[in-house]
């Protein structure tokens, strides 16, 4: 497996096929836990860990699982991994476990996990599958972080509130009160804020893509010799 391939997988997960703003899979946790950065990032990382583990666990057994029962077997494995993660969080990150609540077990039903296992891990070796799952999860985490930051900043005027739940009491003073004496903006905290925020993110990503494509095209026109070499099908 070449380095370039790993890079491509990573780029795919973080940007080109981002679960949060391109594939639009796993909307339920995206909308529900993105009310603050810490919540979003925590669930995103938990999902990334589960995805990496499930990729690594399923890829090596892919040739032994009969095609007809592969979905139940995959779900079984994913459910086991999620429950293991849940136990570990309950034991060692109790505060966070309470905050994320039902959304930890719900990682099982997050279609992005099964989607990557089915689309990638069932056809590729363990190492790349784990990397693919992790990259996809990291892409989701990035979206959750940005969306969480937007909503937290607008809704409560803070950043990283609740970080002590994730990192223990040492982090208690790390909360940034960006806007002092902020009265709060309820819409951003409530679910509609999540929909509007996610819409803006998708629009922003599309705009960046379009801009990059346009630049490439105008670049191609200006310097035809070099432009001719750039593969146009990359967008």
């Amino acid at each position: 497996m070449s380095l370039q391939e790993y890079k491509d997988i990573f780029h795919n997960g973080m940007w080109k096929q981002n679960t949060g703003v391109v594939q639009l899979l796993g909307m339920c946790p995206i909308l529900a836990v993105s009310s603050s950065v810490v919540n979003g990032v925590s669930l995103g990382l938990a999902t990334a860990v589960v995805m990496a583990l499930s990729g690594a666990a399923i890829a090596p057994i892919r040739s032994y699982v009969p095609n007809e029962i592969r979905i139940p077997v995959f779900i079984l494995i994913i459910a086991v991994l999620v429950t293991v993660v849940q136990y570990l969080m309950n034991a060692y990150m109790y505060g966070l476990y309470v905050v994320l609540g039902i959304f930890i077990p719900l990682i099982v039903t997050n279609c992005i996990v099964l989607a990557r296992v089915e689309a990638f891990a069932s056809k590729n070796p363990a190492g790349t599958s784990a990397w693919d799952g992790f990259s996809m999860g990291l892409g989701l985490t990035a979206v959750l972080a940005v969306l969480g930051a937007m909503r937290e900043l607008l809704g409560k005027g803070t950043l990283f509130s609740g970080i002590d739940l994730a990192l223990g009491d040492v982090a208690k003073d790390w909360v940034l009160h960006v806007i002092p004496d902020y009265k709060g903006f309820l819409l951003a905290v409530l679910p509609p804020g999540a929909f509007i925020g996610l819409g803006l993110l998708i629009a922003g990503k599309n705009w960046l893509n379009l801009r990059a494509a346009r630049k490439r095209r105008s670049g191609a026109l200006a310097i035809p010799i070099e432009g001719g070499c750039t593969p146009a099908a990359h967008g």
Binding site: L76, V84, L88, A91, Y94, V189
Partner: protein, 217 residues
């Protein structure tokens, strides 16, 4: 026909095989994390309890001195709950009760309250609620000191009709825009005090520690 039977048998064997492996992994994780989970849950609960029962008020092992209370209408509970008893030099000083306000703006509000032996509230905290963020959530201490208004109150300080928000002719503050929430909390706290008054004697009876209720969420 025979081929189909064999194929499905094979699938079944396959599934069972994976189920066994999965169960084994889960069981071992469970046993590995069980103690740590119990410990962190207990620690969290103790943290909450010491918030509302000041440390100088007790010298016993409060987590072990428990009493199981059956579901009770005055407490608003639908399952048995555990009361923690605080004692100082062997004398009862306070009891920690769980109560539920069933009529919050969006459902139940779970409370934990500490009542001193003389019927005075040592403290009240909201454990879980679904009130509107930014409006009804000032019952959380993190958001607002409102809940501390209960400290030191008893049914002697405020007579029964005074256990209402000021808008309804009572003694308690509230915030414009969200009166249903404090109404529910005040009512629940008051009823819990009535419960305490009726059961004061049995609440402090020394007994062998109640078997700890296992909580699986």
């Amino acid at each position: 026909m025979k081929r189909i039977a064999r194929a499905s048998l094979q699938s079944a064997v396959n599934l069972v095989f994976f189920a066994i492996i999965g169960t084994a992994v889960l069981a071992s994780t469970f046993f590995m994390t069980h103690d740590a989970i119990m410990k962190s849950e207990e620690k969290e609960k103790l943290k909450l309890i010491t918030q509302i029962v000041p440390a100088p008020l007790f010298d016993n092992d409060i987590m072990q001195d428990t009493l199981s209370i059956p579901a009770n209408a005055l407490l608003g509970t639908e399952d048995a709950t555990i009361a923690y008893r605080a004692r100082l030099h062997g004398e009862p000083s306070a009891v920690v009760l769980e109560a539920v306000a069933p009529d919050g703006y969006s459902g139940k509000i779970a409370l934990i309250l500490a009542v001193r032996a003389n019927g005075e509230l040592a403290g009240v905290r909201v454990v879980a609620h679904k009130e509107t963020p930014g409006l009804g959530d000032y019952i959380e201490l993190l958001k607002n000191p409102w809940i501390k208004g209960f400290d030191g109150k008893s049914r002697e300080v405020y007579k029964d009709p005074d256990w209402k928000v000021k808008k309804d002719g009572g003694q308690f503050d509230y915030m414009a825009g969200a009166t249903i929430t404090p109404r529910a909390v005040i009512k629940a706290v008051h009823k819990a005090l009535v419960y305490f008054g009726e059961n004061r004697d049995t609440l402090f009876v020394v007994n062998t520690p109640a078997p700890k209720k296992e909580k699986h969420k």
